[in-house]
């Protein structure tokens, strides 16, 4: 076998140009697959890092109707769902894995919010005093809400740095007035997350969209919410846990509790959407879009394989005399078959290895030019090389069988 491999290398080497051209299809196919897979892995690693590694172990438990998240912005206050109370907070805190609980209301794309003539289209929250702890918000300047803000339903706002930038161009916003609907709110502070989600990902449109939703956040006391929006809107719940691993469990028990205690209608339910799960979904999305690309690259591998088959058939014809002589002096069919299969496999494996190198280089280049993340996947490299070897064996089969079936008499007769 070793002998065969050495001979195959010699044979490949003695036809350098031809071998390279034959390998080209395989090289291109494997290189594109490695590039795609490196980008997928880089993106996935980054999604996970961005979502999970943000230091926030918070699970959002929100209201669903049938299988859709219930959006208060476009839907009436749901019947059969009661608002959450201080009592519920205490009950939730007793449950497994739950460390902290916050209730809040939210509008994702707020209408009618203006600073002077500038419209704001970010998110508006009505939050309790626990919210900022769970999400790790720190005060940049100004002040947080005070008890009296809640007690007196004051029209005061905390804004994040994005809003500060978008509406005030970074100037000090404290004391400025933002109009929400008919009401004038006073900005009392700017807050920021200690470790914010920083979207570095540009390659993945889905992820980009997800990140785009956070075009800024502004917060008012929950008690002020009904003044601007509506009474009796059931809140969304944020559950804080001690560790990332607890998130899924805590989300489930909270959702179960809320569904069975706060809902009488059968179409509504509370469901948790923890970040782990979201990360997985995002990763799946990015993987499935890119998997289609892998299929396309796979086609070029098949085309490459056909090229290999073609050249191997030519080789068999060229080497008819050699085959005939070898058979005449006692080489069995099996040996001839193995010789040509090895040669095809060596050819495509070499193409695979070159393809991996080109692919990694390409991924790095792409990463450099387009700021996409990239990560080398060792299993992908191994699979790529093994796969190209298999392609060689598969497409080398017909030429090899042809060679091994040559009749030595006819083979020697041919000059």
């Amino acid at each position: 076998m070793f002998e065969n491999i050495t001979l195959s290398f010699q044979s490949v080497w003695s036809h350098k140009v031809r071998s390279f051209l034959t390998m080209l299809g395989i090289i291109i196919g494997i290189a594109s697959i490695i590039t795609i897979v490196s980008t997928i892995k880089g993106t996935n690693d980054q999604i996970k890092q961005n979502l999970i590694g943000s230091g926030v172990n918070a699970v959002v438990v929100s209201l669903y109707q049938d299988d859709y998240q219930y959006d208060m912005q476009y839907s009436p206050v749901p019947s059969g769902v009661s608002v959450l109370t201080e009592e519920d907070r205490e009950e939730l805190l007793k449950l497994e894995k739950i460390e902290s609980v916050s209730f809040f209301n939210k509008r994702s794309w707020a209408d009618n919010v203006y600073y002077q003539n500038t419209a704001y289209s970010g998110e508006v929250y009505g939050v309790d005093e626990y919210y900022f702890d769970i999400y790790g918000y720190k005060l940049s300047y100004g002040r947080f809400f005070m008890d009296s803000d809640y007690a007196e339903n004051r029209k005061v706002l905390l804004i994040d740095s994005t809003v500060c930038q978008n509406l005030f161009g970074g100037a000090n916003p404290i004391g400025e007035t933002i109009e929400i609907g008919e009401d004038a709110f006073t900005v009392i502070g700017v807050i920021g997350q200690s470790s914010e989600f920083t979207p570095v990902i540009n390659s993945l449109s889905d992820y980009y969209m997800y990140m785009d939703q956070s075009g800024g956040k502004m917060f008012m006391p929950y008690s002020t919410w009904p003044v601007v929006y509506r009474f009796d809107e059931p809140q969304t719940v944020a559950v804080g846990t001690a560790s990332t691993d607890d998130m899924t469990k805590a989300g489930q028990v909270a959702a179960d509790y809320l569904t069975s205690n706060k809902i009488t209608s059968s179409t509504f339910s509370y469901r948790s959407q923890d970040l782990l799960e979201q990360a997985k979904q995002l990763q799946e999305m990015s993987t499935s879009t890119n998997r289609q690309l892998v299929w396309i690259a796979g086609i070029s591998l098949i085309v490459g394989g056909i090229g290999v088959m073609n050249i191997m058939l030519v080789t068999v014809t060229e080497r008819t005399r050699e085959i005939g002589l070898k058979k005449a002096i006692g080489a069995k069919k099996k040996r001839i078959l193995r010789q040509f299969l090895t040669e095809a496999a060596v050819l495509t494996s070499l193409g695979g290895i070159l393809g991996v190198i080109v692919g990694i280089a390409l991924a790095q280049l792409l990463s450099y030019l387009m700021q996409t993340p990239t990560a080398i996947s060792v299993p992908a490299i191994i699979i790529a090389v093994v796969f190209s070897m298999i392609i060689g064996i598969l497409f080398g089969l017909i030429p090899a069988v042809k060679a091994s079936n040559l009749n030595p008499i006819d083979a020697l007769r041919r000059e």
């Binding site: 005939g324 005449a328 002096i329 006692g330 080489a331 069995k332």
Partner: protein, 229 residues
Amino acid sequence: MLLELTDINKDYPQGKDVVHVLKDINLSVEEGDYIAIMGPSGSGKTTLMNLMGCLDVPTSGTYILDGENVAEANDNRLAEIRNGKIGFVFQSFYLLPKLSAIDNVALPLLYAGVSKKERRERAKVALENVGLGDRIDFMPNQLSGGQSQRVAIARAMVTNPKVLFADEPTGALDSVSGEQIMELFAELNANGATIVMITHERSIADCAKKIYFIKDGQLSSERGGTSNG
């Protein structure tokens, strides 16, 4: 008897017809024999040698080689027989151009499963026996025709075959080189090798101990009549 052919026939299909190339051939070769088969072009010499050399099987008849009925052997067994019991020398040498002289000679031993070290040693001895001990690492394109044919003979003899078949071994050589090859054959035969040689040159055939003639697929011995062993 080392080789015993009885009523051997060989047909080739030719469109709707069949070409009857060999007709009821009977031939016996003893160990240590040195025979020549002569005949005009197209008479069936090569066809007969292919059958005797186990490169092909007859349409009918029996062929016993070293006690085994070869006419009924399968492809794999025929390859084993060719490898272990038979040596071939062809008109145009058929050396593999990318292998050195010694590697060409060692090739049959590879198929016999001999270790690398022993292959080299035995190939070297075989090359020395044909007078090419000083050219073992030459490539085929660096050898003259006569030298190439001697490498081919070394390759045929390296396995110590029961019988050596030579199809026009001097056909591609000048007369001096041809004579040298004939001297080598005589020497091999004197050392016990059995040789079956095909030629259409009388002077070459005369080197053998016995001469057979083939014409239109029918074999006859020199002393007249159809040979019967």
